[in-house]
């Protein structure tokens, strides 16, 4: 038992949140005191469509174990069409990553509105749980970024 505890890897999750909906949703989760794991770290972007696939790969390279994108619900984008683009791009990217054998569950996209603090917290808890069960990201790691 003890050994298992020692080996337990604390996953790191990078969440990209759009400024208008999901970041506000996260704020609401905060002001509603709805907790989610501390290893979820949020990066604010103007719109989910600002998230370049390079950012996602970079996060994995640097040691993230899961990457989640949050944006306004389709149709509610502050910039009217941004998240529609995100949806396609990420559909293609996530599928491609999976095609390369990277676990599908490591990448996720969720639509969280400014009013959905509850959802934000639920999503993050769920995602963190999923990543925990997947364990450390080994298939898209960069050994140079590991501690030694």
């Amino acid at each position: 038992m003890q050994e298992i505890e020692k080996k337990e890897h604390k996953p790191l999750i990078v969440a990209f949140c759009c400024n208008w909906c999901s970041y506000a949703g996260a704020d609401l989760a905060g002001s509603s005191r709805l907790s989610y794991p501390a290893n979820v770290k949020i990066i604010r972007v103007p719109c989910s469509c600002r998230v370049n696939p390079i950012f996602i790969l970079k996060a994995f390279q640097r040691g993230a174990d899961g990457v989640i994108l949050c944006g306004c619900h389709p149709g509610d984008c502050h910039y009217s069409t941004g998240n529609f683009h995100t949806r396609r791009r990420m559909g293609i990217l996530f599928s491609l990553l999976n095609y390369f054998g990277i676990e599908k569950e490591r990448t996720r996209i969720e639509w969280v509105s400014a009013a959905e603090g509850q959802k934000f917290s639920l999503v993050m808890n769920d995602f963190a749980k999923t990543i925990c069960s997947l364990g450390e990201n080994r298939r898209l790691e960069d050994l140079r970024c590991k501690k030694n």
Binding site: R62, G63, R144, C145, K146, K147
Partner: protein, 341 residues
Amino acid sequence: MLKIDISSLPLLYEKIASLYPLVLPIKKANEVNYDKYSNGAEVSLFTLKTNKSPKDMFFPQTEDLMKFKVDGQKIEIIDTRKEAQPFVVMGVKACDYKAFEVLDRVFLVDPIDTYYKTKREAGIIITLACDRPEESCFCKAFNIDASSPLGDITTWKVGDKLFWKANTQKGKDLTEKIKDLFTEGDEKTVEKAKQEITETISKLPFSNIDVNALSKDEMLDTFKSDKWSKLSEACLGCGTCTFVCPTCQCFDIREFNANDKIMRFRCWDSCMYKDFTKTAGGQPRPTQMQRFRQRFMHKLVYYPENNDGLYSCVGCGRCVKKCPSHLNIVKVIKAFGGEKK
């Protein structure tokens, strides 16, 4: 002269690998390259041309030079050089072996490149005589005898046997440690095989190349020749030729910002890349023709000029096979008259 059944080679690999790391042509995902032997690896020793040359073993495509830790205004340098452990490279062909001499003349002249030197000293090279040269081979043009390469140990494949001969002390020491796998071999069989190979080589389509016939014009005339633009017109500017070449040694020094340190490493670079010589201030070789010319001028003119006439090409033919546009040094040599009349 020793010999071993080709069918027993797996035993030999195991045995050597139990003593030293063993590197030899291994087939992975359908392609043969030099790779570290491990149990279960698909060894393809007799593949004539590995995609990459064995220069990788001494001058790796990417090599850490040092690390830095930065703390405020302070910098700490961490030397990452390791004491090189002996290792064995097996199956090196005559051309690739000759290429080490070309590299030595770059890395081992003052100031000595210790990264290269330590590996070069630690490496035990087992060469393999060619038994079935291909149409892209033209090592003979550079006076390389594919039938009897040098190295610490030379091997020949004759029929179902591999003949083994140690040339140097390093080679002899290794042989000593594994000699129970061998039986005594007959020198004459090898001699006969050598003759056959030499004969085959003379039949190769490129056997008419004669670098001595290369026009002995003034260097600058060759440089200014209008042939270059025609020769290079299909060049894509990729680095395939340079990266498969056993003698190309251009490198870049770059840094990687890892999480807790900065790693400075060097990696192969190619004079064919457009950013190779580019600076904020300008670009001395702005066109692909100039970059193409630089590569071949370097191989056929500049390098020999600095190295007692030794060409920086060993006729391995990899660029002939691999260039996406089928441009290669043979065409250049021929364009400048390097053909037997």
